[in-house]
């Protein structure tokens, strides 16, 4: 082949899962989006609301009084994703410190169940990563399959 090729580009690899947060007052469409980072084995997770205008938001306040259920659903979705893509590592953080804390609480609460199949690491600041310990102020979370 001697032809000079056209310039080309690649789309980011994104995998989306959808569910709905439901209360007596309203339903809110949620998206859990896994996006390939600069390190191909690591996928960033974003938990988003799909707004009525079609925009995605990570800062809207749903007020459906089901945060623990939403986060538990997100954890189950991570399990589904890692079952399908067993060599990947999922990393996530809240959009701010206030939103990161519930992740810590839910992971800590669900840890015995999670640890049956997965390993969780917590990150503090830019350097420190360790095996997840409940009640520790992590700001990043890494989850991957044990094997």
């Amino acid at each position: 082949m001697t032809e000079t090729p056209y310039l080309f580009s690649a789309q980011l690899v994104e995998i989306c899962y959808n569910f709905e947060s439901v209360s007596d007052l309203k339903g809110v469409k949620k998206i859990v989006k896994f996006t390939e980072t600069a390190l191909p084995r690591i996928y960033n997770l974003a938990l988003l609301d799909l707004l009525e205008d079609g925009e995605e938001s990570d800062s809207s306040v749903t007020n459906n009084d089901d945060l623990q259920t939403v986060l538990a659903t997100a954890i189950r979705i991570i399990g589904s994703f890692l079952t399908k893509f067993p060599d990947r590592i999922v990393v996530f953080t809240g959009s701010n410190a206030r939103r990161t804390r519930p992740y810590r609480i839910v992971i800590g609460r669900e840890l015995p169940l999670i640890q049956q199949r997965f390993v969780v690491f917590g990150g503090i600041g830019e350097k420190h990563i360790e095996a997840f310990r409940p009640n520790t102020a992590y700001d990043k979370f890494f989850i991957f399959l044990k094997q």
Binding site: T37, A38, L39, L48, I129, K146
Partner: protein, 60 residues
């Protein structure tokens, strides 16, 4: 006398594309991963997986 807006002639518009929340999060995560010792992270993960495989083999 006709008013002119001299600034409009000087300042050229800067168009910035707003990132979606997931793109923003990805950019922040990539910046974080660039500063983190990911080689050590991968080593830890590989060690844990090797241990698990050994445990499974020992069970069988």
């Amino acid at each position: 006398m006709e008013k002119t807006n001299e600034k409009a002639d000087i300042v050229s518009p800067v168009v910035t594309k707003k990132l979606s929340p997931s793109q923003q999060k990805l950019a922040e995560m990539n910046a974080y991963l660039a500063k983190t010792d990911t080689a050590q992270l991968f080593r830890l993960i590989d060690e844990i997986r090797d241990d698990e495989r050994t445990k499974q083999r020992d069970k069988q």
